[in-house]
Subunit: 232 residues, 2 copies
């Protein structure tokens, strides 16, 4: 099974990639769709480029598709990009979003491909615990009452999950951020040959909207072989 994995660099797309690789699928490409409505239209919004470091660390070619950002056009644009790939399936990190899942299934159906959503309807807390055991995850965006500036740049570990559970009970924050409450970035994964190291970050916090982003202005890849040889 040759597949393309929809890839944004966060925890869910890395889980989709992890699952596909463990399943023995040949992951031919990672696909990131870039929307022209995003601030990333400006080159100096740098985080979008970090997916390239991750793709490089994974050694898997990265396809960047472009879309105007109108909802229906986005599906057509993504379909046009995938149509040109010699793959048999699409793997997506969809967890609870019906829209996202149906969109991918629709494209797969029209192109005669299989579609996979390995995290679909997982219990969010179990899922988060599994993820923290596999990846080095950091919060790079926050947008929910109850989450504050201190979450920006925070590593997602057991303590963070416990807090998310409390924030869920108190404010209804989805523990896996499925409602857009927070965005994550995966700095290390078992299938990375090198880990992403943040050299310079800028926290941008907007108090009134309870939202903020961690802008990574400098980062580099640190090969992991060096670590292994230290251990051996």
């Amino acid at each position: 099974m040759r597949v393309v994995v929809l890839y944004s660099g966060g925890k869910d797309s890395n889980y989709a990639l992890y699952w596909a690789l463990r399943k023995g699928f040949e992951v031919k490409y990672l696909l990131s769709m870039v929307s022209e409505r995003d601030d990333s239209y400006m080159y100096h919004v740098p985080n979008i480029h970090l997916t390239e470091l991750q793709a490089r660390a994974a050694g898997i070619p990265l396809v960047k598709g472009f879309t105007s950002g109108e909802k229906e056009k986005e599906v057509e644009d993504m379909k046009a990009v995938i149509e040109g790939l010699r793959v048999d399936g699409i793997v997506a990190g969809a967890l609870a979003s019906e829209y996202q899942k149906e969109r991918v299934e629709g494209i797969a159906g029209e192109l005669g491909l299989k579609s996979f959503a390995p995290a679909w309807h997982r219990d969010p807390i179990d899922y988060m615990r599994e993820l923290t055991g596999i990846f080095d995850i950091v919060v790079v965006g926050v947008s929910a009452y109850g989450l504050d500036e201190r979450w920006l740049g925070r590593r997602v570990d057991e303590r963070a999950i416990e807090e998310l559970v409390r924030l869920h009970e108190r404010y209804g924050v989805h523990p896996a951020g499925e409602g857009g409450e927070f965005e994550t970035f995966v700095r290390d994964a078992p299938f990375f040959r090198a880990r992403v190291v943040f050299d310079e970050v800028v926290k941008k916090w907007d108090g009134p909207s309870y939202s903020g982003v961690l802008e990574v202005t400098r980062a580099h890849l640190e090969p992991k072989e060096a670590q292994l040889s230290k251990g051996g």
Copy 2:
């Protein structure tokens, strides 16, 4: 004819793309191979990311492939990336490099694809004159005795070509930079919906080696519709 265009963002790959589009080819993807030996392994060497702005301006998906940078491995790595694309041909900007042309022809042959090198063996001065009539080209790297710091960031226009001709006669500099004497970046092309604007650049010059680079640390896309409406 569905094709992939090998794309680095400079004048030759943009000419290859221009030629393919004029020919009526369907350009499904641009392909950039990133070598792990490059300084671009560090995320803060920013120019490599500028190809993404260009691809976005052209509205054509960009595939980034990764290679260790060993010469033979590079061919295998590029072949593996192209093998997964549903295309009938490869278009490359090769001008005079036998190695580059043979490499692409070899991959095309093994994959049963056609290969095109529209600039192959063009007279370099005629070619440069044609390019300056089509594109907004700027010098972003220099590495030759006779070329100095003032070339970094310089627009390639008729006066620049005249100087290159004199430098060719005096020092043997190839007028199209085929020997690596200079690197270019295309900020605007007829097929760009927006032009690339450099907001912040850093000139890095190394006197003893007669070489330098223009690092673009901030850039953005400026839509061209605004310009058109001004004129109408």
